[in-house]
Symmetry: C3
Subunit: 287 residues, 3 copies
């Protein structure tokens, strides 16, 4: 029986990226829709639920994507409401690749480093990747995770939301200047930059002065990179006594996690891969 | 050569259900379009007609679907106008699953029951499934088929249309109350409920008082069901001296008919599966 | 690894024709988008570029189609801008089938005929097929290629554009009457009709009086054909001392070129098939 993946994308044009990865993960056919809103979900999901029965439902699954994380999360809620009893299919939620990217980022750091009782600072970290990475580092035992924004109001709002959504306690902070960043990195062991492409966030003058700092990771692949002296292919390279993880090393591992997650969807008909469970999958993969 | 199915759906979002069934029927690839109107058909159908030649055209076929039966029938007319001589492909018309569902419903009843010279009443039967079921029961020799609506004008209009379209003579009737239904079931042998989901149409007090009644069937899968005491999985179960056919038993057989119809499309390049010929296919399948 | 073709079509509804040909050329899956404009290209192309690495990129390719040749050419420019270094995929540009049709038309003529130092007249030749055919005949050594339009301003504009785009020197001409055509065919060896369907352009009275004329070809498959006494299936048939090539013979060869081009896309990740290189592929195929 063919493995069918229903791609529901909140963007008007459904992602090519997600389709290629799905094919490369063993999916036989993708049924793809763009511009999906929660009100359109029921009929589409019923089409998957009511065409195959019992254990055969493990061959049908749903991928929820799109550029806007919250829009895709709303789709996920609408999808879950369609299910009843054992009449359900597996679902993966990875809007904008945020879950798989954050899992790859966190695993690159903790895979070879004991983060327990350590402090991490995620610069420009209030977006989906930064938030999820914070969650994973706390889960792995970090003593403190600071999430910075250019506006303290933004990082405080995120801290509140993470507390209520995940019972995760992050430290909100504001960073508008090199001086701010320098102060935030005091006593920090890990620094992560989650800023937009081509924005430098962490100059060498700052990180070289941060004496406790051991690890830096950056998800920006477009020069100038987020961390000065970082190379996109850095995969744990030691330089000036600190370890570097660049965007391509993280991205390659993200692809592994993404593919492994898709494969997992078809092992049962009741798997839900979201920001929590995708990390569990990542933990089982060698980076 | 790959078996290609061109799905033309009149709904803005093409049906997932129809795509999954097509893949499960051996189709290799589906080329899917939603929001199709008759004026858009020519270019799409020519793309299928002019890419493969001679006997190879048996590997290309068209499925016409959508929620609105008449809109899909208009597509069918537009598609047929594109063909000439032997340059044509097979076509299946099953808007809203009406043809396959009605065929399954009728076959469940007549498969194990001699309906010749018997009277059937189809409650809330003026929709596509009810109309087609009436047609099939008359074809199988029923002496009378009554189609009810809440408005006699509606059932009379349908009776007139069925006369002109199929030369089928049904008895129009109005049923607005339990009393109406009780009167209509007098001397009836078969009662079928084709109402909307979660609407009870036939209380036990009525059917248990209908002494000639032998068989009841219901296409509503959402409680309360159309017939009181019906179970969705009833597949000819006898209860209180009468035989019951529920929505899931009918639905499972509908799936078989749907799949078998899709498979038939690829046996030649000139097969036309519509409300008449899909029933012929259903007759060859064991329910 | 599956061969994936990204179909970007400038028409609102992406071409069925192009999809069927792609499947028949060994493509495993098509990711299809209609209504594509240059501003939407980047995200789609990046989805193809960043999901597979190194030599694996040869399994991903792009097909650019649509009814309007210039719109598709603009897509091609936008696509090329997305690539950098070796991070690229193969691309085929064949809007409205113009490149493959023109290549088939030219090859039918020059495959069995030495066109060097000969004169060709392409009637109603200012459209994409006529222009490209002119280019190919000049490339093969024709001494003169005349392109006619009903308006000399149109053919002069095309002559100017072909000079600047391809450094190709064609002779612009106006043909509004049988008399015009008769005069234009003086000393011509080849006459080609590229008019719209069902428009007769070359009456027998004219071509039979053209004493030097040896070959006629016509791309119009709908009667009345472009050349009087032509048959759509003529494939080099001699009649009245002249050789005839009809639309179906040319169309069948066009299909071979189209399929062979698609197959070529997957031999490397840096192939660009456009109006120039598709002709090179056509030269390697037996008509």
């Amino acid at each position: 029986m063919k493995k069918l993946l229903l791609q529901l994308d909140t963007d008007p044009v459904p992602s090519v990226f997600d389709q290629v990865v799905a094919y490369d993960s063993g999916v036989d056919h993708i049924i793809s829709y763009g511009g999906v809103t929660p009100d359109k979900v029921e009929n589409l999901v019923h089409g998957l639920m009511f065409t195959r029965g019992g254990k055969q439902l493990a061959n049908s699954a749903i991928f929820l994507g799109g550029s806007h994380v919250s829009a895709s999360q709303q789709l996920a809620e609408a999808v879950k409401k369609c299910f009843f009893g054992s009449v359900r299919v597996s679902v993966m939620l990875d809007p904008n690749g945020a879950n798989t990217t954050a899992a790859a980022l966190a695993r690159k750091i903790v895979g070879n480093y004991d983060i327990r009782a350590k402090k991490a600072v995620i610069l420009a970290g209030t977006g989906p990747v930064g938030q999820r990475c914070a969650l994973y580092l706390l889960k792995e035992g970090a003593s403190e995770v600071v999430l910075t924004s250019r506006h303290i109001s933004r990082s405080m709002a995120v801290a509140k939301e993470m507390q209520s959504r995940y019972q995760a306690r992050i430290t909100p902070a504001e960073s508008r200047s090199t001086e701010d960043t320098r102060a935030l990195l005091e006593n920090a062991h890990v620094a992560i930059t989650c800023g937009p492409p081509a924005v430098s966030l962490l100059p060498q003058s700052v990180w070289s002065a941060a004496l406790t700092l051991e690890i830096m990771a950056d998800v920006n692949a477009v020069p100038p990179l987020g961390v000065e002296e970082m190379k996109v292919t850095d995969d744990g390279v030691e330089r000036f006594g600190k370890r570097f993880y660049g965007a391509i090393a993280i991205g390659n591992f993200k692809m592994k996690i993404h593919r492994s997650s898709i494969t997992s969807l078809f092992k049962s008909n009741d798997c839900l891969l979201d920001e929590i469970t995708i990390y569990d999958i990542a933990c089982k993969i060698d980076e």
